[in-house]
């Protein structure tokens, strides 16, 4: 498959992805890599039911997703992972990911505001730095057409640090 977007988004397959990214990128297959969902038939069916017309959805564990992403082919695919540490695991496992799109990570306890749609924990920032260390370009962008924020540049400049972020 040909990976056209690797996205971190805690909502996984939802409106912004299905109606925003999928049509503009011509995606034909969506891979949702999440251990909890993959272990639950009901959850897998729920996620698959959110598939846009003409798009296949697979829900895989992180361990299953890495080799699946390495399979050759030209089918345009979109990868969804819940948090940065999951994406880092895939990068470390050799998945052919050259760029990561950081989508929605909303507020929860222990996270601080980076963007309106991105709240990060120290663990998230550490994982993002780990992804960048593998020479993967990381950009925050919720929707096509919205401005992107170059995460790798901010990390390199020391501007993305948990202590520098406001609480909410």
């Amino acid at each position: 498959m040909k990976l056209v977007l690797a996205r971190v988004d805690e909502r996984l397959l939802h409106g912004q992805v299905a109606a925003g990214w999928v049509p503009i990128l011509g995606v034909r297959r969506i891979l949702v890599a999440d251990d909890d969902l993959a272990a639950d038939d009901w959850e897998r069916d729920l996620v698959a039911s959110a598939a846009p017309p003409g798009v296949e959805v697979e829900v895989l564990s992180l361990a299953e997703a890495a080799p699946r992403l390495q399979e050759p082919g030209e089918e345009r695919a979109l990868l969804l992972v819940r948090r940065p540490r999951g994406m880092l695991a895939l990068v470390r496992a050799g998945a052919p990911i050259t760029a990561v799109n950081l989508g929605g990570l909303h507020y929860h306890e222990g996270a601080r505001r980076f963007l309106d749609y991105v709240f990060l924990t120290p663990e998230d920032i550490e994982a993002l730095a780990g992804i960048v260390e593998h020479h993967v370009h990381v950009k925050a962008q919720d929707l096509p057409g919205h401005p992107g924020i170059e995460i790798d540049r901010l990390l390199a400049d020391g501007l993305l640090a948990f202590d520098r972020l406001p609480a909410r």
């Binding site: 805690e10 909502r11 397959l13 939802h14 409106g15 299905a18 109606a19 009901w42 959850e43 729920l46 996620v47 039911s49 959110a50 598939a51 846009p52 990570l105 909303h106 507020y107 929860h108 309106d116 749609y117």
Partner: protein, 133 residues
Amino acid sequence: MTHPYPILLVAHRGLGEGLLTAAEAILGRRPEVDHVTNDGLSPETLAGEINRWLEAHPGPVLILTDLGFGSCCQTARRASRERTQVGILAGVNLPVLLAAVRSSVQEDLASFLRHLHARGQGSVEMYLGGEHL
């Protein structure tokens, strides 16, 4: 005396409030419908809001959501898992909302959901050059 199912509207930014405002303009009163948006909420937080509402309404209830493939609907479906008295209709529009507030808990929930579904589908009409297609 009959009364409608308790209704929770779960929708993207501004839609729930907009539908309720429009319904108020038509009905002359604000419908007794609770609403919550997913705007800025993590899936866990939204699930918590829906679960709290469900716990406050232990009988048969209706949840109206917007996009069937969106996080509002998916979160509502997760919250209603194994709760057979929770009916969900995705793709809410104004005709569906107006029909829903005229519901009666004396009606069978599954039958009422089918009625709402038909009402929603039937309310989408086409005109070309002023003529019905």
